[in-house]
Amino acid sequence: MKKWWTVFMGVLLVAVLAACTASESAGESDEGSSEGESDSGTKTLLLNNGEEPTSFDPSQGFDAVSWNALNNLMEGLTRLGKDHTPEPATAEKWEISEDGKEYTFFIREDAKWSNGDDVTAGDYEFAWKRLLDPETASPAAFLGYFIEGGEAFNNGEGSADDVMVEAVSDKELKVTLSAPTGYFLNIISNPAFFPINESVATENPEWFAEADSFVGNGPFALAEWKHDSEMLMKKNEEYWDHETVKLDEVHWAMVNDTNTEYQMYESGELDTSNIPSDMAEQLLDSEEVSIQDQAGTAFYRFNVNEEPFQNKKIRKALAMSVNQQEIVDYVTKNKEEPAYGFVSYGFESPSGEDFREHNGKLVEPNVEEAKQLLEEGMEEEGYDELPAITLSYNTSEDNKKIAETIQQMFKENLGVEVTLENAEWNVFLEAQKALEHQLSRSSFLADYADPINFLESFTTDSSMNRTGWSNEEYDQLIADAKNEADEEKRWELMYEAEKLLFEEMPIFPVHFYNQVVLEKDNVSDIVRHPVGYLELKWADKQ
């Protein structure tokens, strides 16, 4: 018996010891190398990308996990500056025709690919036509519809030759738009419009799949890419503006759990981190928090085809009984701006006014008026009692909290009872698109930086409408705004459209989105745009 014990304990002991020595030696070598790095003065920024990038093919990875990284590996004709407005990048300068439809870009002489090739106008023509090619099946293709002939090529009615983008010479690119688009320079800073090195792509169509074959033209070059686990970017010495770039390296982990991410940030394995929601309250006031706007709105949609929401007054009554300020203060607790309109802050008119400031609060909590409107609405419809209302949301803790609060607000302020119903994301979305909900949770994030992107969501034929609401006057205002070359007039049309939207109230807003991150004190100048992707060009680490 004793012998048996000893043998077993011995085996266990050896196993434990072996495990310990293995990890100790590994720990030493690991620490040794990282210390060596800081000694030699290599500035390595430690970031977390959350997960594996969908794709570094500029036409494919239409999401933040791909484009936050790609935005620093490549560069378009323009790049968004620290003030979030487009500035010259690969294009040194440009000319715009009188009617605002024809753009001529002049590409820098010293714009190079990371393999030393010149960046040419032909690389842009190649990339943009590829984006629009139906064979490419790019989810971002619609961004190219601003170009004359782009939509026709993508939906199969036209051909590549009809797309009005042309390399006049190696360094001169001419683009004709289908309508004057004041924010075109902003749109082309988007990764979908990055150039592709044509000779590289012809030789190896999968050039974007591995670090070895990746050829970019941005501030950083892709040095290592261990799929699903990490990436390493090194400063790109071929980049035309490499003197501005201060970091030597950027290391990207792929940690998809906010709690773990935060723990790694705490233990020094990351320089920035998101905030775990249950720790928001204690962390939000810390000095390491950075809060930036994000162009987007959390809102609810009424389905105007379903009783009782065919009635405008009933829609308004419910909208006015919701207190947005209370929701952001006590429920979401993430320092969001409460939303009293649909277009978020940060869009400046030609006269320098903020869109949101100018159009003001288009819906405000007002219990008395809400009660009054509900009564009138019910009378108009001949209701003695309001038909049953179901409020739907896609399953998530945060959505649930907001939904329950709104349910409570309806009950307290108007005495209206609603039932809550939740569903898995894809199921929910399918039902919302099929107009099967009565009242449902929604969110909007801008694809490009102009108020029209918000407002075009509610035209009759928009796939984003999902309310059943259709208004000819509104459709006309949006169409006019899209064709208006005079910026002042265009903004007037957009102001008017948003007012009309809230006059009719097929939706009610809850809050605007923001980007809240923790960032170590020794890190500076990481730029996060309200619309756009992470910029590390100016970032520094002490």
């Binding site: 018996m1 012998k3 048996w4 043998v7 085996v11 266990l12 495990a19 293995a22 990890s23 100790e24 590994a26 720990g27 690991d30 594996e52 969908t54 794709s55 093919d57 494919q60 139906p134 064979e135 490419t136 099946a137 989810p139 293709a141 619609f142 519809y145 993508n154 939906n155 799949a209 261990k226 799929h227 699903d228 686990s229 990490e230 982990a253 940690v255 998809n256 759990d257 709690n259 773990t260 723990q263 790694m264 705490e266 233990s267 394995e269 898995e424 994301w425 894809n426 199921v427 979305l429 399918e430 039902a431 698109k433 969110s443 909007f444 994030l445 694809d447 928009s462 796939s463 984003m464």
Partner: protein
């Protein structure tokens, strides 16, 4: 024996085929599509995407294409990660999950059996109570809670081990401990109860009476029979742990294949759903098959019974 194995092998193929077919049709019954987005979607763009992945073909055609992909073992590109094929995703994720899984099983098995045996030998003694307390804790504390606790204490507060990712042996310690605790507890309880039962058997009394040393009695006579229930659960346990665990892999940011099971479904990434399901079910069926063979080796009575049954 050969005939039996062949027959079992054919059953295996049929089982996998049925699972694959059921999955395909259930998957297509799910509302939604891989291209369902909250953002504004453009009709032409959607159409191009569907054509690209053959989702515009009739269901029967898709099914045939899919059966072809199983037979040729080529599941095609993932829809959500279009530059990768499902094969490359699994090929990359499985070795990592398997590495984590093998260590987990080894540690769970060694410590679980040890705990169970000690507890049985010292039945109702202090060691028994300690061992069973550990086992009850191990079963009742979910591994994601344990994982977070371990990270908080050992990585953040003490700083002796890294919080996450998968790059060196020291990165493996916390996930393995977190993952092994549950199976260890199950194995410990199973071993204890079957050991207790075995120890009261006549042949053990007989061995004692013959004056064999206690160590020999336990290792050679008792343990071999007492381990039968452990072998039974080992098949499912192996298949489950080796093919990755979503939660632990997510918490420790381990690039295994666990996440593809869950995310594939959430994102309606059809090729990934099919690839992971076929892979998992084939693996599970194979493990069960191996366990059955192991029975035969461990316990001659079972082999006799089965052969006699045919």
């Amino acid at each position: 024996m050969a005939k039996y194995i062949l027959k079992r092998f054919i059953y295996m193929i049929v089982t996998v085929f049925i699972i694959a077919t059921l999955t395909f049709f259930l998957m297509n019954l799910l509302p939604g599509s891989p291209f369902n987005e909250e953002r504004t979607t453009n009709e032409a763009v959607q159409r191009n995407l569907e054509a690209h992945y053959h989702l515009d073909e009739p269901l029967v055609v898709q099914y045939v294409l899919y059966l072809k992909s199983i037979v040729t073992l080529d599941f095609g590109p993932s829809i959500k990660q279009p530059t990768e094929t499902v094969n490359s995703l699994l090929g990359r994720g499985f070795p990592i999950s398997a590495e984590l899984g093998i260590w987990t099983i080894l540690i769970a098995l060694i410590s679980g059996v040890a705990l169970g045996v000690f507890a049985a030998l010292k039945h109702n003694g202090v060691i028994d109570y300690i061992a069973m307390t550990i086992a009850v804790l191990g079963i009742s504390i979910p591994n994601f809670v344990l994982a977070t606790l371990l990270i908080q204490q050992l990585a953040v507060n003490l700083g002796v081990l890294p919080a996450a990712t998968w790059s060196s042996p020291q990165h493996m310690v916390l996930p393995i401990v977190a993952l092994a605790t549950g199976p260890m507890a199950i194995i410990a309880r199973l071993t204890r109860s079957s050991m207790l039962e075995t120890l009261t058997q006549d042949y053990i009394k007989m061995a004692r009476a013959k004056g064999l040393s206690p160590a020999k009695i336990i290792v050679k006579h008792a343990l071999k029979n007492a381990l039968m229930p452990v072998v039974t659960i080992l098949g499912t346990l192996l298949a489950g742990v080796l093919t990755g665990t979503f939660v632990i892999e997510k918490i420790f940011a381990i690039p295994g294949m666990g996440k593809y099971f869950v995310e594939g479904i959430n994102q309606r990434d059809y090729p990934v759903i099919m690839g992971t399901t076929v892979f998992y079910s084939a693996f599970l069926v194979l493990m069960l098959f191996l366990v059955d063979i192991a029975y035969g080796i461990l316990d001659p009575r079972i082999k006799l019974h089965k052969e006699g049954g045919k």
